[in-house]
Amino acid sequence: MPSNVWFSEVEVRAILWKLGVLPDSQNHDVANWSSIQRNVNFNSIVKVVARELASRYGYAIRLPLGDLSGHVAGQNEVVFLQMILTDLARLVNEDSFTSMKVAGIIEEGIRQAGVRSQVPSRERVVQEIRGKLGMTGEKDLRLKPWEVLTTGLLRERVVDGVADAFAETFNLAFHYRLDARFTSPPSQEVVRLCDRLLSSIVGLSKTHGGVSERIAGIVRQGLSRLVFKKSPAPGGMGAMPKPQQAPVKPAPPRYPNAQPAPYHYPQLPSPGATQPAPPPKPSPQAPAAAAPKPSAPQPSSTRPAQPTGSDMNKLGPTPDNKPTPKKDEHEQYAKDLKAQEAAMGTAAGEGEKPATDAPAAPVEASDADSAELVEVAAPPAPAAAAGWRYLPIPDDQPEPHTEYDARDSRSPQGMPIIGARVRGKKHKHDGTNCDDSFETAVSGNWTILAVADGGGSAKFARLGSKAACSAAVDYLREHLNDHEIKTRDDWNDAFTFDPATALFNEKDLAYVQTAMHDAFRAACDAIKGEVKQRQESEEHTKFLGKPIEFRDLYTTLLIAIHLPITIRDVKRDLIFACAVGDGMVSVILEDGSCRLLMTPDSGEFSGETEFLTEKIVEQAAFPSRVRPFIGPMRAILSMTDGVSDDYFPNEPGMALLYADLILNGIVPVKASDEEIDAALAATQVSREELKVGDVATGVERVTSAAVRQQVPIRTVAALAQRLKLDVDKLIASPALLAAGRLGRPLCDSDDPKERLQVWLDSYHVRGSFDDRTLVVLHREPQA
């Protein structure tokens, strides 16, 4: 049902305020931002506004690079562009990080252009372009390389690539500020970059009185291009919210009736401003194509250059010169979005004439335009990986540890066990080994799970974690095999213990407790054995610069064991957990809530933890570390701190973690389409909408120096935001969680262990760069 919901002046002001162009004090009536966002036109409008501004940025960059030589820029135009560039240069000079970012953008532009040996050297070219843009203070530009650059088709491609990459950064900044593109918060780094770019604009608007009005003009033009496509039909509005009717105040005048001076380049106060300055049309071709230059400026249009949609897809301003995200993903996403917008009747510009009298916006909304608009909404790539390198596991260190491990098996009762471990970002950055290990086993009716995290400062921690896991698991497999737990009708007093020994009074339970204690002793002995074996090793001594010792193998160790029991004919789960060091073992109950089976790391400061040592396992009170749990469980989660720290506080963090595992398709959930529809009925979102516009955010996963791929990552937080529901409610509802799984899958494989590995390797939390290991034992949902 096509809708003609407008944006009134109130809404335009709200948008400007959101962009930081209007000071806060002027706008206390913008509390209805969320209702403005719900306006069906909102996303399209923001896209146009951002696009308009972004293209001006691109234009501002093309000009000094000499790309627009065929066009004589008007006086005002030049002044405006100079201002943008001055501002950009100021931003860059102030901040070495941004400077690095800019260099990355230029690099990316050059890469896109496929410039290779024809030009002096990439570094030189970057320097030249930065110089030309006024970003470096260097005066001694060597003109020779510049001439090489500026002759032939090369320049056009390079310049286009650079300008468009810049423009896209700007575009992203606007989308971010207006919340129009991100379903979950973008990485801190994107936020910072966006904020800096935007504050640069605001700075402009404060220093130069005219700029604020100019930005307002851009917003208005963006609105006019969309809103006035169709003739207003006030009676024929659909059921969409109409924000301008909500306020009690008299309805403000609407555009175009109350059209203020429209956006126009020549509005800049300038003495020589007599003729409208027609912006030329820089080549809209993709930079990879040898584009014919537009022959002449087009004085009839005041629209600035529109970079091509395909260029705008690139969100690649990272210094790492990363490859462009896979094109087909963009296309798929664009298709999805188009379908979504079509379904909502708001696909921008279906070739209809704009019914506007705005003289500055004689915009023919061509088909090409609408295609661009859709395509520009490529999934955002939070610059999570910016600056993070990928170095392979070193081959000159003794006994490397594989980058990944992912395994699955079944418990004696047939419950799935999946476990995976990934090398942390920091280890990838430094080119060092993963320190984590895990091991699982079954024995009789028991299931045994072990995870271990080698200490970051211990050079052979990987050996320690591996030895600890296998020794402990082996010990328990041997000693639990035929051990039976008494059938009890009442477990209330089962876990009383002798304060002197910390041992349970009930013999069968104390046996388990002792077995777990001895498993830790066995793990400790195993590490000692590993050390002893290598004491004479020249290779290890050489690498360490000293003989190997126990502390070089420091590791944590977390063990959980599971046994199904029956209490008065009711099936229950008996679980014991024991840990040295940080990480977490948690039980997920049937209602989705969690119980922690160890004390979360709550040291005064992060980073201090205990490691498995003889001193600790021989503590008299060690048996009291063994924690029992009885209840109906849905799952046991056992993990190193690389995961548990990302879900802090662990209560209810572990419940969120399990819900995230469901959302990302790692553990199953059962809900029929009818149940999903029923659960979604209370929200504003339908199943179809979630199918085409899922709640996933693209996160960059780095799996080798050359491969960076986009992985759609879902979080309960993002889903809760999308459905406007409390997280608690989501977690408790299998149907809502099932709804959150709709859309693009995490990866092509539907093998849970592979998905677990991909997910662990991808999800982003600021300050989280440790190895990640997670082992899950879960009960499959009943049909």
């Binding site: 901040d95 070495s96 990080f97 690095m100 801190q188 780094e189 910072r192 910016a386 600056g387 993070w388 970002k425 920091k426 950055h429 995290d453 200490g455 970051g456 400062s457 502390r551 420091y554 004390t599 979360p600 790391d601 709550s602 040291g603 005064e604 400061f605 992060s606 980073g607 201090e608 933890t609 205990e610 490691f611 701190d641 720290d645 990302d646 879900y647 802090f648 506080p649 662990n650 209560e651 963090g653 939390v765 600021r766 300050g767 989280s768 760069f769």
Partner: protein, 212 residues
């Protein structure tokens, strides 16, 4: 799910004896430190920086701020050496700004504190030094810079004392470079500090002598 922060405090002597070339070298040092850290993704995600200066009085010229937001302070030298007041200020800032861990909240990494002074304190400092040492408020690295500095005095604040024999720009530059690489390697898991080396710092350059 906020990430853990690594709070870094630079406590810098800006007394009169630092004026001229040394203070300029310190300015450059801070600049270089920032540039270097901003190029390191781990530091960018974790490190938060604060600068406390002391001359006739102590002043926190930059509150604990993440690297990208950090604005370089204006450093000017002149006045006395109120070392005790600086230690007091440091304690207050850490108490106020550093998150302690609990079951509900992830604690920050243990603060990393670099103290640099080139002279003799001119106020009462002994008691505050003892307090700081006993409270273990963070990993403190103290630098006695130049011939006039007293490394034994600094030993009362922390075990980790280094000495710069000159106040030459190159020596100061090396010091800040070492500070930077120390920050980069610090946010990793370690055993509690009572069993040996508390910090796994990178080896200092030749200009910096570790005071035993």
């Amino acid at each position: 799910m906020a990430g853990r922060r690594l709070p870094v405090y630079l406590v810098l002597d800006t007394s009169g004896s630092m004026s001229g070339e040394p203070i300029e070298a310190v300015r450059q040092g801070v600049k270089a430190l920032l540039a270097d850290l901003r190029g390191d993704p781990q530091a960018l995600e974790t490190a938060f920086l604060s600068v406390i200066t002391f001359s006739s009085s102590a002043l926190q010229v930059c509150p604990l701020t993440e690297l990208m937001q950090f604005q370089e302070p204006n450093l000017d030298a002149g006045g006395a050496t109120s070392f005790g007041e600086a230690l007091q200020m440091l304690t207050e800032c850490i108490d106020r700004e550093v998150q302690k861990g609990s079951a509900q909240q992830k604690g920050d990494w243990k603060p990393l504190i670099f103290i640099m002074t080139d002279g003799q304190p001119t106020d009462n400092w002994e008691q505050r030094a003892d307090q700081i040492k006993s409270r273990k408020i963070g990993n403190i690295i103290a630098c006695a810079a130049g011939p006039g500095a007293d490394e034994n005095m600094l030993k009362r604040v922390t075990e980790m004392v280094v000495k710069l024999n000159t106040l030459q720009p190159e020596a100061l530059r090396q010091f800040f470079k070492w500070v930077s690489s120390s920050i980069k390697t610090t946010s990793q898991k370690i055993a509690p500090s009572n069993d040996g080396a508390p910090l796994d710092l990178p080896p200092p350059p030749p200009q910096i002598v570790v005071v035993p």
